[in-house]
């Protein structure tokens, strides 16, 4: 029987190859879960990110009880009372007379308990805010800021690199010197300098936008340089000359015939850059220059953990770091896998 062979584009081939890489698929799933939870934060989290209760300052993760006097009942938590021990440290003691049953899907939230008690899956911060909720609200910012920044710096980098490489000559010269001006300054100091240029009285949305722009401005230059090198060689290809002889406008030649040839490189770099931007945002916010409290981001959640004392008594405030680690690692693994997937030499048996 004759089997019809359907031609496949290289993007579909690359994804087929990616799918065979178990670890990168795992990372892809992990990222989807992170993004999913971030998007659904309003539903998943029991509290809003500003919802505080100072009576529960640094309250440890709450234990969920299933057994009441040896009988299986619907899950509940005990009330806690705050006491101080001999060295004036906070200790929360379960009050076995108070029981608060967990209820699900009430008030538009996935789960929660009735006030006055509060339910902390992953503990509370200094102001008694739920860390679990703040991590997922923070994920909205930390995970989106990297993506937006990358999109902007890729548009900039691809276009500027493409134009510089395609035209060459003085255009190339000017654009590349501009790139070098950005690359000359070490990234973190450039970030600080750009942040210093942003007015103090910005509201949280304006700060968010300015952090995105700062991140975008750091990353585009190195990309533009590499794309420019590729464009320099690609513009000598016959199909570019043909497009020119047929009167196709230059900008369309750059966008349609030069830049798509760099897709395998760009895709992999895109993923790796997202992770570096997530780290950059975390760094900026941790030192207090990025997203400002009370709005949470993974970076400024970690700034609570910059002093040793809270970390000793409330180690759960390091949790946001774990999520930064997971997100960054996932993007890196996927980026590496994509680079291999686009390289026919690494592709086996498809």
């Amino acid at each position: 029987m004759e089997k019809k062979i359907k031609p496949r584009g290289r993007i579909s081939l690359a994804f087929a190859s990616l799918r065979r890489n178990r670890f990168s698929m795992l990372c892809l799933w992990a990222l989807s879960v992170l993004y999913g939870l971030a998007i659904c934060a309003d539903f998943v989290c029991p509290y809003g990110y500003q919802d505080e209760d100072r009576d529960f300052s640094y309250c440890p993760p709450t234990a969920i009880e299933f057994l009441d006097h040896g009988k299986l009942v619907r899950p509940f938590i005990y009330g806690r009372t705050l006491t101080f021990d001999a060295v004036h440290r906070r200790v929360y003691v379960n009050d076995y007379r108070q029981k608060y049953s967990l209820h699900f899907l009430t008030g538009g939230r996935l789960f929660g308990v009735d006030p006055p008690s509060r339910f902390y899956i992953w503990g509370a911060d200094a102001r008694g805010r739920d860390l679990f909720s703040r991590i997922w609200y923070g994920a909205r910012i930390s995970l989106s800021i990297g993506l937006l920044g990358v999109i902007i710096s890729f548009v900039l980098g691809l276009l500027i690199g493409g134009i510089a490489g395609y035209y060459g000559g003085w255009v190339d010269n000017i654009l590349m010197r501009l790139c070098e001006m950005f690359m000359m300054v070490p990234g973190f100091y450039l970030m600080l300098a750009l942040r210093a240029a942003v007015p103090e009285n910005f509201n949280s949305v304006q700060v968010y936008v300015s952090v995105v722009v700062i991140l975008a401005l750091i990353g585009w230059a190195s990309l533009a340089r590499i794309i420019r090198g590729m464009a320099l060689s690609l513009r000598e290809r016959d199909f570019v000359l043909v497009a020119k002889t047929l009167g196709v406008p230059d900008i369309i030649i750059i966008i349609k015939h030069i830049l798509p040839q760099t897709i395998s490189f760009s895709c992999a770099t895109l993923m790796l850059t997202v992770s570096s931007y997530i780290l950059a945002e975390a760094g900026l916010s941790m030192v207090g220059l990025g997203i400002q409290d009370p709005v949470p981001s993974w970076g400024n959640l970690l700034s609570d953990a910059m002093e040793i004392v809270p970390v000793i008594f409330a180690p759960w405030i390091l949790l946001p770091g774990l999520f930064i680690f997971i997100a960054v690692m996932c993007f890196n693994v996927i980026g590496d896998a994509l680079r291999d997937a686009f390289d026919p030499m690494f592709r086996e048996g498809i």
Partner: protein
């Protein structure tokens, strides 16, 4: 004589080195004029200088190119851009590298049409299919959706002719259109060019094989080291070559 393209004293140089030396000839309306000569004789350079697409170190130092009454070397860049593809089409030697491997044949022909006309997407699609049929591609719909590597060499070459004529230019510059094809296909492509002539397109055929040229061309210009050594009607040049170099070429073609 009603000439569509007339080149007068064209000189192309790179630094002090002269590549094309005071070349003059006319391409009359509806005729095929062939430029023949060995490698490095400056044939392709003439073709590219008509379109003003000479690679950077090369430049036209003297002469004029008049096409449809306009001095092509003096018109503004924008007008030149509108001229390329719309009024002058070009066909290249190597059809595989001439197409972008990432787009289908149809998309790439459509691109030329989109650059020069105001037609809607649907009208362009129709026009591309018509043109593919005109160059005798057996299954235009399939060819439209094929990537360059999926077509055979002959089909690709036809597709490239389609790309050059889709906007209905009055002049086609065919730079060695058959050199990468086998002999039977060469004849077929030449016949295709011959039919285009009947549709009132003029063709400037750049080639080295006088045997092929003599099948279709009306006039032939023999170029040697950037200079015209002989020109005239094909029959005359083939039968009574005057210059030594022409005799060599004629001998090798027989």
């Amino acid at each position: 004589m009603n000439s569509l393209l007339s080149i007068n004293g064209l000189t192309v140089a790179v630094g002090p080195k002269i590549l094309v030396d005071r070349v003059s000839f006319d391409v009359p309306q509806g005729k095929i004029v062939a430029v023949a000569g060995g490698s490095g004789s400056g044939k392709t350079t003439i073709g590219l200088s008509i379109l003003r697409l000479l690679p950077t170190p090369l430049s036209v130092t003297q002469g004029s190119i008049i096409f449809e009454g306009r001095h092509l070397l003096d018109v503004p860049v924008r007008e030149m851009q509108n001229c390329r593809g719309a009024r002058i089409g070009m066909v290249f030697q190597e059809p595989l590298s001439a197409f972008d491997p990432l787009f289908t044949i149809g998309q790439q022909i459509d691109e030329v049409l989109a650059a020069h006309t105001e037609l809607s997407k649907r009208e362009r699609y129709k026009k591309v299919l018509e043109t593919l049929l005109e160059v005798e591609l057996p299954d235009p719909q399939r060819a439209y959706k094929s990537y360059p590597h999926q077509l055979s060499g002959g089909m690709r070459q036809r597709a490239m002719v389609a790309q050059a004529i889709v906007c209905g230019p009055s002049l086609i510059i065919a730079d060695e259109p058959t050199s990468s094809l086998d002999v039977t296909l060469q004849v077929k492509i030449m016949e295709l060019l011959g039919r285009l002539k009947k549709k009132d397109m003029s063709i400037l055929l750049i080639a080295h094989d006088l045997g092929m040229i003599s099948r279709v061309a009306d006039e032939v210009i023999i170029l040697c080291q950037g200079e015209i050594v002989e020109k005239g009607p094909v029959g005359q040049v083939m039968d009574r070559p005057q210059h030594g170099y022409t005799r060599e070429l004629v001998m090798s073609a027989k």
